[in-house]
């Protein structure tokens, strides 16, 4: 394959599944070969796109600024770290006032803690403030992609599913339920909003 390197697709994955992942791998010996995080539903992720609510931000740097953001989706929390090598993302985190809907494009990063467990975070390429419509669209998209991965998990030709079975002891059925619950949550909040529009008394 002598093709120019193609851009890695940004996977859609909910926070719970993302944080359950821990295994990373390369597909070539090349030093600059992309590093992939193995998703438990059987897909490789070198880049992710997520939209959620920034609930907290904190400069955890010693000396240099190093911003940590907590971004919440219907299933859990993404941790995003941005420092001097991600100047735009860092300055966005500095300027944003939580709570706020944000969209993040970034790379998965893993970090092994002293007790041997693996923490997963996102190193952002960009963070932008978005609206609730974009956030809802992402939840639907992430649910669909998750369900598609679960549906393809038993396919014999699915090498990343095979890898996930070897590396993780996790039930993909859990992720199916999680994705459906996320959509049910959206559906319910829809109903609440439309009910509110008709019945709720006006704010005093």
């Amino acid at each position: 394959m002598s093709q120019a390197p193609t851009r890695e697709v940004a996977r859609r994955v909910f926070a719970r599944e993302f944080n359950d992942a821990s295994h990373t791998f390369k597909e070539s010996e090349d030093e600059r070969a992309p590093v992939y995080l193995l998703l438990p539903t059987g897909e490789r992720a070198n880049r992710v796109f997520l939209v959620g609510t920034l609930t907290e931000k904190e400069d955890v740097g010693e000396g240099d600024e190093y911003w940590r953001g907590r971004i919440v989706d219907p299933t859990g929390t993404f941790f995003v770290y941005a420092g001097q090598y991600q100047p735009e993302a860092a300055s966005t985190l500095r300027d944003l006032e939580p709570p706020a809907y944000v969209a993040v494009v970034g790379k998965p990063r893993t970090y092994e803690t002293d007790d041997g467990s693996v923490n997963v975070s996102v190193r952002p390429e960009s963070i932008t403030a978005v609206d609730s419509v974009t956030r809802d669209r992402w939840v639907v998209e992430a649910a669909q992609r998750t369900l598609e991965r679960v549906a393809a998990f038993e396919d014999e030709s699915n090498e990343y599913a095979r890898m996930a079975r070897e590396e993780y002891d996790l039930s993909v059925e859990e992720y199916r339920r999680m994705a459906l619950a996320a959509l049910e949550g959206l559906d319910e909040s829809d109903e609440l909003e439309s009910d509110a529009g008709v019945d709720a008394p006006a704010e005093p």
């Binding site: 193609t6 697709v9 940004a10 939209v51 978005v130 419509v133 939840v139 369900l147 459906l180 049910e184």
Partner: protein, 309 residues
Amino acid sequence: MTDLHTHAEDIVAQFSDHLDLTVDEVEERLENLVNEYRVPVDEARRSVVNSYLDEAGLERDALGGGGNASVGLAEIDQDEQWLDVTAKVVELWEPRSDSVAQVGLLGDETGTTKFVAFETSDLPELDEGAVYRLENLVTDEYQGNFSVKLNRTTTITEVDEDIEVGDDAETVEGALVDIQSGSGLIKRCPEEDCTRVLQNGRCSEHGSVEGEFDLRIKGVLDDGEAVHEVIFDRESTEALTGTTLDEAKDMAMDALDTTVVADEMRIGTLGRYYRVSGPQFGRYVLVDEFERLSDPVDAEAALIEARSI
């Protein structure tokens, strides 16, 4: 002559379903016409094909099977497929290599595709805007994009009709996940027909030039399955960002820095979902039309669909 030999092979292939021909006998007939009677190769081929059509009791159109496919230009989906088309030369481009005689865009009712004619094929030149019957083209594939190559066996006949070239716009959608360098407020080379984007005030062809301001966005739409590179020209960039070229120049002037324009654009557009359509050139979809996907999602419909996955 190898040339005639190739024609002979093609003809044998064309009639393989109908007649039991040998390359030698076909070549001999071609040779007779070309060398003895001084008939041009194209005409000789035509005449030989016609006589075999008679022999097989076929109409010219009936040459399917072993013959060339007739496929719409925008519908080509195979590499190394032999084609006959009637097409209009929509655009001629500047060849980038000495081995290329002509390169440009051919169009028919289904849409457009790139074509290349090589110097070694020694073919008559095609004129922009003219319509031709082109027989014996071969398709080519590069990174999923198809084009057609003219070759020395290609016959070119100008036809006296116009073709309404179809619109084969690609439509892609996804989240805008990147705005690449070379976006925002840029300068283009002012030399006639150049328009290359300047790097540090230099054109790769014309060196250091004054440069004319322009706006564009080279973006990446990503739907979680595939990435699509898209280019917004000045008009669509202005519509997308709400920033006009003049406003962008003012912003850059105030900041004494042109990169603030792209930075502003990133803040206003990254992470949102868009659907764009326009012609595909190489890796890029050139945006003619776009819309922000800002309708509220139908959670109930999504849930019904999701339960069926």
